[in-house]
């Protein structure tokens, strides 16, 4: 049996990769994928704890997170498509209109 710490280490690695991708990548699609990566890193931790502690709560959280992630993906992709149509660009840094 794989010990809990292995799962948690993998979860942390996934989350940090997501954060790094979010911060350092310009491409908005990649940023979007990074968000999914962070969510799944968290999901992995939930599931691991749920299994180790023999409690169902963690699994339920994961379902919620997946549902939210699906909804977010739908809305987010729609926004990205709208932005690309309008501005012909995928660069995250150029989307700062709301600041003004």
């Amino acid at each position: 049996m794989v010990p809990l710490s292995f799962y948690l280490a993998l979860s942390a690695i996934l989350f940090i990769l997501g954060v790094a991708g979010f911060i350092f990548k310009q491409d908005i699609i990649t940023v979007f994928i990074s968000i999914e990566l962070m969510l799944n890193g968290v999901n992995l931790a939930f599931v691991a704890f749920s299994h180790a502690l023999r409690q169902i709560d963690g699994n339920i959280f994961v379902f919620f997170v997946m549902v939210i992630a699906a909804a977010e993906a739908a809305v987010g992709l729609a926004i990205i498509i709208a932005v690309v149509r309008n501005r012909n660009s995928l660069e995250a840094d150029r989307m700062s209109l709301l600041r003004d």
Partner: protein, 649 residues
């Protein structure tokens, strides 16, 4: 119905101020005259239905201010006194409105002029019809505002806008006294309404001391009256107010507004009768103003300035009557004065109109070879009537009222022979300077004006010949001339004063009068002699022997300079009050308090906030990745804190 009279004038103001700019001069003028005319017709109706028995019931009242114990209605009342004032204001006002149609035809801002005249009528009617002091004060301030706007009517002229400001500021000093007086009234009696206030006042004793409450109130109210009615020491604004258009001078600065102070003192008769010291002050100020202003009027060259100083002087007469506790005589003179002084100003306006804006009497004489009376006969005759009236020539209106005042001052318990002598001397001066104005303006000089007429024509006089004014101006002159002629007859046998008696029945027992030898006829004989003497001297100086005044002036150079410079009162006020005040304002109020203290605090708060905002603004770059970095760093910091230093669970 009573309420409708001022409101009609207000409606005229609203219509003209909103739409007048788009209207032609004809429409704006028609609207401007129609509403005061309707108000006058309505006033006639109200007066014809007037029933003395209903006076006590008070007029109409709408709730206006309700706050705790304080309850002040927007209430108008019609009694004998306000009835007289109502007819004067609407009647003379209407005539002057009609006259203005002709006089203002060639000036800009026609609609603005009529709108302001109408709003003046509204406030003046509010003032005289109000049934409480506070509403009277609203009217008081309102006429001050209208006066300010109309003095500065030609606002592109620096002197006109300065004169407007001067009038406003000087009046403000008087209003301050008036307002403090009102506070004292409320503090003591808890009401402003005449019908409730005066019965309370009538329970108070006659005060022998200077510091009595009614004396203080009376003196403070009189401060207000000196401002509005141009008495010493606040008369300085009225001569400058002549910068306004001449119909304004006639309506506001001769016939109606400046008499508001007299009206207010008469209205407060119950207070003044119980404050004999205040009456002494009123009498002294009135008499001194009468002679002081008359002496300045002796030497003025500008026809409107002569009339202005004459107005100040005549107002002094009215206050003399009030000071002698003979309020009826004061109101009587107020009425005849409204006729003849309104007429004099309108006549002067007609002259100025005829001479294309010339106001200097000697220039008018030079510009109309052979005497202006030949070119403008109607103006001349009406001006002659008014001059006779103001000088006290027998059987003209002013004769009756001025004679009554002088008699009252001599005989009443409050009066004295000294003030009578002063008043009679002022009457001599009045007669002299008015006939001087008449002779110089309307009669040719003794020699054919070979010296003057030539340069006059070179200055472009070819295009303009002296001419009579149009009908729209001469008809009001004729009506006022008729009134100035016969207006005094209603006072024969004291009928006018007996009509007003219910108002001035203040509950103070009538004082015995000083009997004089020959009774009223002695005073009358002296008055007539004085009036004719003034006429004679003026004729001698300005028709018969025109070198005489100049020789007299050179022989009494010092006195001449003093009077010619109006006793340097303006300069004195400037040096003693205005300049120190301005210096104080500049150094202490502006440089120290305003710039250092207030600006420093306000700017300090502002720049601190701006600096902080500037720093924070750098964070809000709009870059999603920089926000995310901050979130990640923040989360890391929280984690590290919980791991190493945070409270252990």
């Amino acid at each position: 119905m009573l309420l409708l009279i001022p409101l009609l004038c207000f409606a005229g103001f609203v219509l003209n101020i909103l739409f007048g700019r788009q209207w032609s001069q004809k429409v704006a003028g028609a609207v401007g005259v129609a509403f005061p005319a309707a108000a006058f017709v309505l006033a006639l109706r109200v007066v014809s239905q007037y029933n003395p028995a209903q006076v006590a019931a008070g007029g109409v009242a709408l709730p206006w201010i309700q706050a705790g114990l304080l309850s002040i209605p927007y209430g108008l009342q019609l009694d004998q006194l306000s009835l007289v004032m109502l007819l004067i204001v609407t009647g003379v006002g209407l005539l002057i409105h009609i006259y203005s149609l002709g006089y203002m035809a060639h000036e800009g801002g026609f609609y603005r002029f009529f709108a302001l005249l109408n709003v003046f009528m509204f406030f003046m009617l509010t003032l005289v019809l109000a049934n409480n002091y506070l509403l009277m004060f609203i009217g008081w301030e309102g006429v001050g505002f209208a006066s300010y706007m109309l003095i500065g009517f030609f606002f592109h002229k620096d002197s006109a806008s300065r004169a407007g400001m001067k009038a406003f500021v000087v009046n403000r000093i008087g209003d301050f006294g008036f307002l403090i007086g009102l506070f004292f009234i409320f503090e003591r009696f808890h009401t402003f309404t005449f019908a409730q206030l005066f019965p309370l006042v009538k329970q108070m004793p006659v005060e022998a001391a200077w510091g009595g409450p009614l004396t203080v109130i009376a003196l403070l109210l009189f401060v207000g009256a000196t401002g509005k009615s141009a008495q010493i020491p606040l008369y300085v604004w009225l001569p400058d107010a002549m910068e306004g258009p001449t119909p304004v001078s006639a309506l506001i600065h001769a016939a109606t507004m400046v008499t508001a102070g007299v009206y207010m003192v008469c209205r407060s008769a119950a207070i003044y009768d119980r404050a004999p010291h205040a009456l002494e002050v009123v009498l002294a100020i009135g008499a001194l103003t009468a002679i002081f202003a008359a002496s300045i009027g002796l030497l003025q060259r500008d026809i409107k300035k002569v009339l202005a100083y004459s107005t100040v002087s005549q107002l002094g007469y009215m206050f003399m009557a009030c000071g002698a506790a003979m309020y009826g005589a004061g109101v009587f003179h107020l009425m005849t004065h409204a006729f003849f002084k309104g007429l004099l100003f309108l006549g002067a306006g007609s002259v100025i109109h005829a001479m294309n804006g010339e106001q200097d009497m000697w220039a008018i004489r030079a510009g109309a070879p052979g005497g202006l009376r030949k070119y403008a006969p109607v103006t001349f005759i009406t001006f002659l009537i008014a001059t006779c009236a103001i000088s006290g020539i027998p059987f003209f209106s002013g004769f009756y009222s001025k004679d009554k005042i002088l008699y009252d001052v001599l005989t009443s318990a409050n009066g004295s022979a000294l003030w009578w002598a002063v008043g009679t001397l002022a009457a001599l001066m009045t007669s002299f300077y008015m006939f001087r104005a008449l002779f110089v303006t309307f009669f040719a000089g003794p020699k054919p004006d070979a010296r003057h007429s030539k340069p006059e024509e070179h200055k472009g006089g070819e295009h303009h010949h002296p001419h009579e004014s149009p009908k729209v101006m001469t008809v009001p002159l004729m009506i006022l001339g008729f009134l100035a002629l016969v207006g005094g007859y209603i006072g024969i046998g004291d009928r006018f004063e007996h009509f007003l008696d219910p108002i001035f029945d203040t509950g103070v027992p009538a004082q015995p009068i000083h009997p004089i030898a020959g009774g009223e006829w002695t005073v009358t004989a002296v008055s007539v002699a004085v009036a004719l003497l003034g006429l004679l001297i003026a004729w001698l100086f300005y028709i018969k022997n025109p070198e005489l005044p100049e020789r007299l002036a050179t022989s009494m150079r010092g006195l001449y300079e003093l009077v010619w410079n109006k006793y340097w009162v303006d300069e004195l006020y400037g040096a003693v009050i205005t300049r120190p005040l301005r210096a104080f304002s500049r150094v202490v109020l502006w440089r120290t308090v305003d710039v250092t203290l207030i600006d420093g605090t306000v700017n300090g708060v502002g720049s601190t906030a701006r600096g902080a905002g500037n720093g924070l603004r750098q964070q809000a770059s709009g870059q999603i990745r920089s926000y995310a970095t901050w979130v990640a760093l923040g989360a890391a910091a929280v984690l590290l804190y919980m791991y190493f230093g945070g409270p252990r669970a």
